[in-house]
């Protein structure tokens, strides 16, 4: 049985690319393009790992992360944050909010897959 992942990302092309790569590796991918519904999607999908963009319409990736960590069910859920703003303070903010891993766009497909596999155990 493949690992489950929720992909929170608003760029349709990036959703398509990541979905393609992960499906190829046997992942079960649930995509969510809206910050408002992200938490609900996670709750419903019960994924092994969450891939989270920062700049989202509705709620930012940080806020979603905060909500997840505040929920005891998801306080330990591995979350990989993926952002196009690779500045140090973004990284620090994410770390402070309890992110599991942080990656910057653009990424190498193999690297992303390896990182997610590691997080999902």
């Amino acid at each position: 049985m493949g690992k489950r992942i929720v992909l929170v990302e608003d760029e349709p092309n990036i959703i398509e690319a990541i979905s393609f790569i992960l499906s190829r590796e046997g992942w079960e991918v649930t995509a969510c393009a809206n910050g408002e519904t992200a938490a609900a999607t996670v709750r419903k999908a019960q994924p092994d790992v969450v891939l989270l963009d920062v700049m989202l319409p509705g709620r930012s990736g940080y806020e979603i992360l905060k909500d997840l960590r505040a929920d005891p069910d998801f306080s330990q859920l591995p979350v990989l944050m993926l952002t196009a703003r690779g500045q140090r303070k973004d990284r620090e903010l994410a770390a402070a909010l309890g992110v599991t891993r942080f990656m910057t766009k653009p990424f190498a497909n193999a690297e992303l897959v390896a990182a997610l596999a590691e997080l999902a155990g």
Partner: protein, 886 residues
């Protein structure tokens, strides 16, 4: 007539003066001395200007130099008549500041500087010493005239020096007895002044009697006298204009600055109104004194043997005619002139010496400062008495050293020139607030030094300066010759010394005043002196007034504030069983008031203020108000300082704001960079990811072409973003070059709509007739703005039948183009943001751009001289483009 008789008469006369002085003091103390303040007494006391020098010397002067003696009377007359306003100011300041001497005046004006007090005191002592010597000499000479007659009869009295010593000692005793009997805060001596007035009458009567005797008794009437004058050498005398003007000025200045004149003019003045009388009565007195000078001189020259001392004609003419009684009267006149001058001068000098030299030394020796007690009082009196002795001792010494030979008038002029050095500092202090202590000290020292060098020391003859120095200057320096500075020869020594000393004095005073900075106390005193008429009224007299509780209340209100002062006074009145605000001024009340005031102004000031109002009104209430007003000015000054510091903190705030703004801009710049990073990385992410997918694994044809298409789209998006960024940075930096050309507005709109294309099938409504306007601008840039607006409408207008209306009209003289669609419009909360960079409505799929379109459009319209704005409340999104003028 024997000298014993003469001495006996002199002693009787002195005893009579004692009685007058004693009586006057007693009356004054008993408060019955109103007549003592009569203007005529004041005027007569001014006659100490006419010393033995003028009594005897004027005749000698006339016999030697003709009418030149008139300058000595002319100067004071000019002052009394023409400069009465200076005198009035001096008198007013003297009262307001409780001035005790000319040294005190200068010291007080320049911030109570004791250094200046010492300088002026030294100047006065050294300048007055020859003058006192002159008086001793004249008394000695006059006595010698009588004893010479005696010698012929075989009766020999002591030598001249011994006589002078006795006279000096006698005068010292008289002065000590009447000048220092009590320590009056105001330094007023009613007894002495009255005695001097009596002496003034004696000398006037004596001189007039001799004159009348000479004119009508000897010469046989005015006509004969005129003939005698014509025949005498006096008529051959020519006026020397330079010397005439110089001497007139000298005597005028000396009238103001001589310590003894200051004593009677200012210190002994009890009422400003006395000045009004004196301004005509004193010139009249001088006129009478000078009336018979020329006749006596002429008749003396014609009747007495060759070689007779013309300085003594007033005595020798009656004696030669056997009129012993008249000679006696004449002697008493001369005696009066000498004694009155010496008495007043030594009182004035002793006040200065004790106040400015002895007391400061004594106080500094006594560690811990002085508690004003009877002990101190005795010390002051002792200091004054010793000072009087010392001053007269100096006079005697000078008399002995100078050999007693020089003509009387010459000694007088030397003395005048010395003391006149005070003039610049005095007048400057009265009329120029910019005068400073440094300036006054520099001027005084320089003037004094020049006087000593050019006039005083040479007056001792060859004893001090060798003929070599007088002829060639010290060390052979020619331009330093004592009586020919800078090689200018031919000037009279007195005129020479007067001009150079006063010139340098005034110049140093002025320049050093300009370059030095006065202390606060100097400023205060300067204002008090220069503006004395503004804050003091001519209070009538110095009589002790009843203590006015009202005065105290007015003062207390100024200091404590109205409510607090009234409350205090009412409470005190109630405690005394009175109603209202004015309690009796009991010691308990005064003590309480003083304690209250000291909280505001300090204990010393409070004590002084209450003491001065209660203690004989020595300082008028108005003066105290002036002090309060000055304090007010100080407060204003400090509030100006506060304003300055507010201004500084305002500047600091502005700097802080500017700094905040810079920080803000820096934050915005970071945000901008972060935003750009995001905008670039997002398409890059798709491109990289899909290119890796394409590289790694073989895909079916459909997927392959789809993914390659995505890569292409994202590459185009990236390129457009870079173009926009570049465009914006060029526009923002103002480096854009506009390509102005003429075109029809409709044509530009056509071009823009065509460039956007019409994929979504949006209806575009236009009124082509209205668009038929010729415009002159950069049409490519304008088209870029239109493209943005049309493209935005197409992107964001999600109505079922999307429609864009383009409407051209004129508003306020300008052509405007409105773009209104029927979509949802822009939420009101977002309106302030829409022209900012990277702002866009959230939906990325539709947006496609980087969010730079409106920002670029705004920059373009700015550059073209037009505008773009959002029009709220039009149903859908509505933008208005205002075209540039023309």
């Amino acid at each position: 007539m024997t000298s014993n008789l003469l001495i006996f008469v002199s002693l009787i006369y002195v005893a009579f003066l004692f009685a007058v002085a004693f009586g006057a003091d007693k009356w004054a103390r008993a408060g019955r001395g109103a007549w003592l303040r009569a203007p005529i007494i004041y005027t007569l006391s001014l006659s100490i200007y006419c010393t033995a020098w003028t009594f005897y010397g004027a005749v000698g002067y006339a016999a030697r130099s003709g009418l030149e003696f008139v300058t000595i009377y002319l100067g004071p007359t000019l002052v009394m008549v023409g400069w009465w306003w200076i005198l009035r100011k001096l008198v007013r300041i003297g009262r307001a500041q409780r001035i005790t001497s000319v040294a005190d005046l200068i010291s007080s004006r320049y911030g109570k500087s004791n250094l200046l007090g010492v300088i002026v005191t030294a100047l006065a002592v050294i300048g007055t010493t020859p003058y006192i010597a002159l008086q001793l000499q004249s008394v000695t000479l006059s006595l010698a005239v009588f004893s010479a007659e005696e010698e012929a009869h075989g009766l020999v009295s002591g030598g001249a020096p011994a006589t002078a010593l006795w006279v000096a000692a006698g005068l010292a005793v008289f002065t000590v007895m009447f000048g220092t009997r009590n320590l009056d805060v105001n330094e007023r001596h009613h007894g002495v002044v009255t005695a001097i007035a009596v002496e003034a009458v004696v000398k006037l009567v004596a001189l007039l009697a001799v004159g009348i005797f000479v004119v009508w008794g000897l010469a046989g009437g005015p006509g004969q006298v005129a003939a005698t004058i014509d025949a005498s050498p006096i008529s051959a005398w020519d006026i020397q204009p330079g010397r005439w003007v110089s001497l007139t000025f000298l005597s005028a200045a000396a009238f103001l600055t001589l310590p003894r004149m200051f004593q009677v003019l200012v210190v002994e003045n009890v009422d400003e109104k006395q000045l009004a009388t004196a301004s005509w009565a004193f010139p009249l007195y001088l006129f009478l004194m000078s009336l018979f000078v020329i006749p006596i001189a002429a008749v003396g020259l014609s009747r007495l043997p060759e070689g007779a001392n013309p300085d003594l004609f007033v005595l020798t003419v009656p004696l030669a005619e056997g009129r012993d009684g008249l000679a006696m009267l004449s002697f008493l006149g001369g005696f009066s002139s000498a004694t009155s001058m010496v008495i007043v001068a030594s009182i004035a000098l002793s006040t200065m010496v004790s106040n400015h030299i002895v007391m400061p030394i004594w106080l500094s020796l006594r560690q811990g400062g002085a508690a004003m007690s009877g002990d101190v009082r005795n010390i002051v009196l002792l200091a004054r008495r010793v000072s009087i002795g010392v001053v007269l001792g100096f006079g005697y010494l000078y008399y002995r050293l100078s050999g007693g030979g020089a003509a009387l008038a010459a000694i007088g002029l030397i003395s005048f020139t010395g003391i006149v050095q005070v003039l610049p500092a005095m007048l400057g202090g009265l009329f120029w607030r910019g005068a400073t202590r440094t300036g006054a000290a520099a001027g005084l020292i320089v003037g004094f030094a020049i006087w000593v060098y050019a006039l005083f020391l040479p007056s001792f003859g060859t004893g001090v300066f060798s003929p070599e120095i007088m002829a060639n200057g010290p060390f052979g320096i020619g331009w330093l010759r004592p009586q020919a500075f800078f090689g200018i020869t031919g000037l009279d020594p007195v005129v020479h010394a007067l001009i150079w000393s006063l010139l340098f004095n005034a110049a140093f005073f002025f320049v050093f005043s300009l370059v030095s900075f006065p202390s606060p106390l100097e400023r205060l005193q300067g204002a008090q002196f220069v503006n004395v008429f503004e804050h003091s009224s001519s209070a009538q007299g110095w009589a002790r007034g009843a203590v006015e509780a009202e005065d105290l209340l007015i003062m207390a209100q100024r200091i404590m504030g109205g409510d607090a002062a009234q409350a205090l006074f009412r409470a005190q009145a109630a405690a005394q069983g009175k109603s209202g605000y004015l309690p009796d001024t009991t010691p308990e009340f005064l003590e309480r008031l003083e304690r209250e005031l000291s909280g505001s102004v300090g204990a010393a000031t409070a004590h002084a203020m209450v003491g001065q109002i209660v203690g004989g009104a020595a300082v008028s209430v108005e003066d105290l108000m002036a002090v309060a007003d000055e304090t007010q000015q100080m407060l204003e000054y400090s509030s100006q300082l506060e304003e300055k510091s507010e201004e500084l903190s305002r500047t600091a705030r502005q700097l802080r704001e500017a700094n905040d703004k810079l920080t803000q801009i820096s934050i915005q710049k970071d945000a901008f960079l972060s935003q750009i990073s995001h905008e670039l990385r997002t398409p890059m992410t798709s491109i990289r990811s899909f290119s890796e997918i394409l590289r790694d694994a073989p895909l079916d044809g459909v997927a392959q072409s789809s993914y390659a298409g995505i890569i292409q789209d994202e590459a185009v998006r990236l390129t457009r973003l870079l173009d926009d960024l570049l465009d914006l940075s060029v526009l923002e930096a103002g480096q854009v070059s506009l390509n102005i050309q003429r075109a029809r507005l409709g044509a530009v709109l056509d071009r823009a709509i065509a460039a956007v294309g019409n994929e979504g099938g949006m209806e575009i409504r236009r009124d082509r007739a209205r668009e038929d306007i010729e415009i002159e601008t950069d049409t490519d840039r304008l088209a870029q703005v239109f493209i943005n607006l049309v493209a935005n409408a197409r992107k964001y207008c999600d109505a079922d039948k999307p429609r864009l209306t383009i409407w051209v009209s004129r508003k306020a003289g300008r052509t405007v183009v409105d773009f209104v669609d029927n979509g949802p419009g822009i939420p009101e909360g977002s309106l302030p943001m829409i022209f900012e960079k990277f702002w866009r409505l959230s939906d990325h799929q539709k947006a496609g751009g980087a969010g730079l379109g409106l920002a670029i459009s705004r920059e373009i319209m700015d550059k073209l001289g037009g505008a773009i704005a959002y029009l709220p409340g039009q149903g859908g999104a509505a933008f208005r483009v205002t075209l540039p003028e023309g």
